[in-house]
């Protein structure tokens, strides 16, 4: 295996944040992928402009995946380039890896992590946190997960090359996605429930009625899903929500 070098690796990692920068219908994130992997290709093709040009061309082709998890493909493709896999192998790898990375990434981040962190922040706001704190909390919590996923993906890809499937399977990302979306639904119920707690004193019966019906339905649905997927989270969060509810009601 040829060495990719620390500088090229970090450079590719930072460039990966722009992977959607040239999104288009024909190549989707293909252009962004090529931009991200360029430092690696330059390093591996030092003194070989023709080789570099060929490599850059094959990585500019159509590619798509979840933007964060595309780092796994980026790492793996870098490793495969370093290991001198054939062009056909690399093309086939990218074709095969894109759908699991896309599907799992959407479920994990867009359906799981983002709503869960937004709702947790909302719950904090309802519990009395200042707007600035709420926003900062969301940005911090969301991006801890975001960066962890990007770093993990890139690292696993670099380490395992074309044999990443076992690591993806072991990470049980779909299961984590299920848990997160269950947690999200549950927090949703909590947000509605807390909203009722706070609006209890409002003298507006139609709104209150709507909030009660919505809150009960949300809590019921949320606890159902939440309990099914993650018992301890359910217990912990339900305790916290009950407390907030009481504070809102009494206070």
């Amino acid at each position: 295996m040829r060495s990719i070098g620390r500088t090229a690796r970090w450079s590719a990692f930072f460039r990966s944040f722009l992977v959607q920068g040239s999104w288009n219908n024909r190549t989707m994130i293909g252009g962004g992928f090529a931009f991200a992997i360029l430092p690696v290709l330059k390093r591996l093709n030092r003194g070989d402009p023709a080789g570099l040009s060929e490599a850059l061309q094959r990585h500019s082709e159509h590619f798509n995946a979840h933007p964060y998890l595309s780092n796994l493909a980026l790492g793996a493709a870098s490793r495969m380039e370093a290991d001198e896999h054939s062009e056909e192998d690399i093309r086939r790898f990218k074709a095969a890896v894109r759908s699991p990375l896309g599907g799992v990434g959407d479920a994990l981040v867009w359906v799981g992590w983002r709503p869960a962190t937004v709702l947790a922040a909302l719950l904090l706001a309802l519990a009395g946190a200042t707007p600035a704190f709420t926003v900062l909390f969301f940005l911090f919590a969301y991006n801890v997960g975001h960066l962890a996923l990007r770093l993990w993906g890139f690292g696993v890809g670099l380490e395992r090359g074309s044999r990443v499937s076992e690591s993806i399977r072991k990470a049980a990302l779909s299961k984590k996605a299920d848990r997160l979306s269950g947690l999200g639904v549950f927090l949703m119920g909590g947000v509605i429930g807390s909203a009722i707690g706070r609006s209890w004193s409002i003298d507006n019966w139609p709104i209150l009625l709507l909030a009660v019906v919505g809150g009960v339905w949300g809590l019921w649905l949320g606890s159902l899903v939440g309990q099914k997927v993650w018992r301890w989270t359910f217990l912990g969060v339900s305790g916290a929500i009950g407390l907030i509810f009481l504070v809102g009601w009494i206070g």
């Binding site: 159509h62 095969a96 896309g102 599907g103 074309s162």
Partner: protein, 159 residues
């Protein structure tokens, strides 16, 4: 009634197939017919990740698959049969083995020499010839990316 869908799709197992067609047809297994994937363990592992839990996936070379077609079709298991290109299907269908079956043409993407027929379908002259040959082997051919989208018959594709 046991191969519930024959589909040509360059991406083999992916969202449109598993979520789009899979949720409607509820297959028990996906049968991927592809010479290269059948010989490559790491590619198989990657495609296995794209299949929902509880659904099987098998990888076959075209030669081996030809001998299995009738038993798959008589089996109690519902299967979706996928191949990456039209030539693979012609290899399966040669001699009328798939006579009377419907062939769903899903994604064939942009490549040098191909022109756009539909947003998800690009064909070159040799693809058109293969489509005609498939029709003369008795397959009824239509393009449709997802169950809910309009179906375009062979005349529409070759026009």
């Amino acid at each position: 009634m046991s191969i519930v869908l024959y589909r040509v799709d360059e991406r083999l197992i992916h969202g449109q197939v598993v979520v789009g067609w899979g949720s409607q047809l509820r297959p028990d297994r996906y049968l991927v017919v592809d010479a290269a994937v059948a010989a490559s363990e790491w590619e198989q592992e990657l495609y296995e990740l794209g299949v929902p839990e509880g659904t099987g996936v098998e990888f076959w070379s075209p030669e081996d698959a030809r001998g299995m077609l009738s038993s798959w079709d008589e089996s109690d298991l519902r299967s979706v049969l996928l191949a990456r290109d039209l030539d693979t299907f012609l290899e399966l269908a040669n001699g009328g083995t798939l006579e009377g079956k419907a062939l769903n043409v899903g994604g064939l993407h942009l490549r040098e020499g191909r022109e756009e027929i539909l947003p998800y379908l690009f064909l070159d002259p040799s693809d058109r010839d293969t489509l005609r040959s498939l029709e003369s082997e008795g397959l009824s051919i239509s393009a449709q990316d997802l169950p809910g989208s309009p179906k375009v018959g062979l005349e529409g594709l070759l026009a």
